[in-house]
Symmetry: C2
Subunit: 485 residues, 2 copies
């Protein structure tokens, strides 16, 4: 479980708070010399004589005796700390210049600049948390919606780990039976009742499948749900987009660091993030850069799980709607069709003193939509005909439908959601190994092959929690962290 | 000393660390209910039963019982805190989304969003620091060079306050003598020896003058020294700028939040900031926006204290140098003239097997520079003739000269520097009042006029430390702070 970047015994340092000017900034030290190094530059109480989880006021001084800053130092004595090593947190004034000075002095005194994620790596290596929990720390920091926050928090608090432990225990019990059989193999004893073993594997496979099934939803909730919004010019797409974004836009732009693609609008409904891809840019491409943009947009369209198609209900005929949707539809997409500009129809009918609700009945539902509507219904497409982005008519209904398309019946309470593609792949690997085990078991192949399959499955599951890990794996996980975590 | 925005008795909350994604973020609560409010959402130990300066691990939960974050809570019990009130600092995962959730919950439980600078305002109002120290907190956070850092630190640790207290004591002693004289005025008793009083006022005036004199330097060091860099096209100005900025640029751009004007380059030499204003943009103005830019540049040029003029020593004749400088020179400017491209001259002379050092002697010093050089010398202009930005020749000398032009003999150890224009104005006011007192004293006017002058002077000095303050003054100082400080 050694990691190439991890040199046990040294002390690391990094700024733990975001870059930039703030009221305070916090520098974190971890390692056996954390307290001694801080003591050598801190003027106040002797830190090495203080209790864990206490805070001390004093100054940080340079070798020349200049006061660099007045600070508060928080002490965490091993193993009662995030990394299970000695940890010191120095809370100084939030000037990037001064914080940088303090870090330089600490490095001069023997600390080393931390690698990205190295504090959490140490927490993992020292048994503070398993690998899936460590990964959840990064997800938690990146969380920018209620859904991604909940999933990360559940994972950090051991949601997945518990499920995996359960599966591992079942498999280990199974393996014990199989290997017992192997030991007595030449005596032709069958300790493990093969039918019972089959049922056990099927049960574990089902558990794996449930977790794997949650990934599509989990990943969508974590990353946001790619949603194409399409329609002909003048269908009122922009107005609709604005109506949908109205309350929400301020909240989204308040969250600093939200990465936004140029072609995307982020819509948050009930804590779930929708990445709205506007296909407006698809029409013209006058130069290479635009062409690249269009290629990227098309890729996004193809990856999208929801298609929102907006038409002008005053103007566009049902066959055209059907034709347009056919062009964008990809297998597996969920479709929401929106008949916009109902206000114009209302106006027209008001003026002509006609009954509004007769409109759809007479003109559309019978004459034009008839077969098309039925076809849409059969394919599970949702259709809201009476929408007015201008008067906000049925905007709330659209949001409710979007949520429904995104999460279906939603998250059941306490359901474990897999949202990490590495975990999904490991689960798939375990699932395949069990498939193989089942095949071997059913075809009466000797126990040692089955035992090997089970060991494979166990290894896959061990990768999720980090019981099985390689330097490369750890590197690839922790280099994605920010420095200071 | 009441402030309109300050409602004693309520509890304020704000994010104390910079906006953005980081490993951790810290939320600060201050006020009588800080601990109770935190206790109502914190699941861990009962905070109200814990000692001051201790740290506690637990979770923050919503009313519905959902875990919002795993946090560390630091307790500071009044008066042992920054504000002298109860203070709680909640250190959570550095997701802006999650930190915002926590703040929302704390507000729901009775905290109020803090105004900018309100924590420090409370520290001031509760006697933790005087006004000049409170101002230094903001300066410290904004510090982005060694010089601005030193000045702010000195001020925060009471440098100016000590000087002002000293002056106030002298004046109070003086006032006591004068007012004693007043009490016995009708008896025509002169307790205060007028000659002695005069000498005392002159002494205090001199002390004030020393502080006032430090302002020009202090302000320049704090804000950076505006330096014009000028020269004809092809004088090698950009290459020179790059040579000067070379080592430095990385450091500067590392400091996030450094506000940079488009026309400025920031050069740091020995911890002193030079704001280099390139006059290149002065030549063309094709539209209104550019014209505005040029107007701003010209204003900057006029405010600059140093002019660096670069010429191509291979090409440009001394009279042209003189002419160009005359156009940009303003009274009080310090001037550094740089003869660039010495490498080209060297090359030429090497090729012609001539002695390089004869070049200046024969061609320039005698024939062309002669009188002009003498004139420059008399006006105190510095001139480095043999510079090559290309080969870095004499770049270090330029830096040394710039430092010399900026701070002269520099800061003497422990000298108090005034760097705040509000302080400078108050000192000027006190100085004027003492002038008046001296005039009145010398012209034999009765003591009560003199006493009034002294009271004015005392009030001016009291404004610096905040012993005299108004709501408006406090508002104007603290609204410039960031929220959370």
């Amino acid at each position: 479980m050694a990691n190439s970047n991890y040199i046990p015994g040294d002390t690391i340092v990094a700024l733990a708070t975001p870059q930039g000017v703030g009221a305070i900034g916090v520098i974190r030290l971890s390692g056996p010399k954390a307290i001694a190094i801080c003591d050598s530059v801190f003027y106040g109480k002797q830190l090495s004589e203080q209790a864990s989880h206490t805070i001390h006021f004093g100054t940080i001084r340079s070798d020349e005796g200049n006061v660099i800053d007045e600070v508060l130092v928080s002490l965490f004595i091993a193993p009662k700390s995030y990394t299970k090593e000695n940890v010191v947190e120095i809370s100084g004034h939030g000037s990037p210049y001064i914080l940088q000075q303090i870090i330089q002095i600490l490095i001069k005194k023997g600390a080393r600049m931390a690698q990205p994620g190295e504090f959490t790596l140490r927490a993992f290596l020292n048994g503070q948390m398993d690998l899936s929990q460590a990964e959840a720390v990064a997800d938690l920091i990146a969380a920018n919606s209620q859904a991604s926050h909940q999933i990360a928090m559940q994972q950090m608090r051991g949601g997945i780990s518990t499920e995996i432990q359960k599966l591992r225990r079942e498999l280990i019990d199974f393996a014990a039976l199989i290997e017992l059989e192997l030991d007595f193999g030449e005596e032709d004893v069958e300790f493990a009742d093969r039918k019972k073993l089959e049922n056990l594997i099927i049960k574990i496979k089902n558990l794996l499948q449930t977790l794997m099934d949650s990934f599509r939803l989990g990943n969508a909730l974590k990353e946001g749900i790619n949603t194409v919004i399409a329609g002909r010019p003048n269908a009122g797409k922009s107005t609709l987009l604005n109506a949908l974004l109205q309350e929400d836009r301020a909240i989204v732009s308040d969250i600093a660091g939200t990465t936004r693609d140029l072609i995307e609008e982020i819509l948050n409904i009930d804590g779930i993030t929708f990445r709205l891809i506007d296909t407006a840019g698809l029409r013209e491409a006058t130069d290479t850069i635009e062409a690249i943009g269009i290629k990227k947009t098309l890729e996004k369209v193809n990856q999208s799980s929801i298609l929102v198609y907006v038409y002008d209900s005053f103007d566009l005929e049902p066959p055209q709607v059907k034709e347009d949707i056919a062009k964008l539809y990809k297998e597996g997409m969920k479709v929401l069709i929106i008949g916009n500009k109902s206000d114009m129809i209302e106006n027209m009918y008001n003026q002509q003193a006609l009954q509004y609700d007769k409109y759809y009945k007479e003109k559309y539902q019978k004459e034009n939509w008839g077969g098309i509507h039925k076809e849409f219904e059969e394919r599970g497409f949702l259709h809201i005909k009476e929408v007015s982005a201008k008067t906000n008519r049925n905007i709330i209904l659209i949001k409710r439908y979007l949520i429904n398309l995104a999460i279906g019946d939603g998250l059941t309470a306490n359901q474990t959601i897999v949202a990490n593609s590495r975990h999904y792949e490991a689960l798939s690997g375990a699932h395949q190994s069990l498939d193989q085990a089942l095949t071997n078991l059913q075809s009466g192949i000797t126990g040692d092959f089955v035992a090997m399959d089970i060991r494979h499955a166990l290894n896959y599951l061990g990768e999720i929690t980090g019981e099985i890990s390689t330097d490369d794996l750890l590197d690839s996980i922790f280099t994605r962290f920010c420095i200071g975590k």
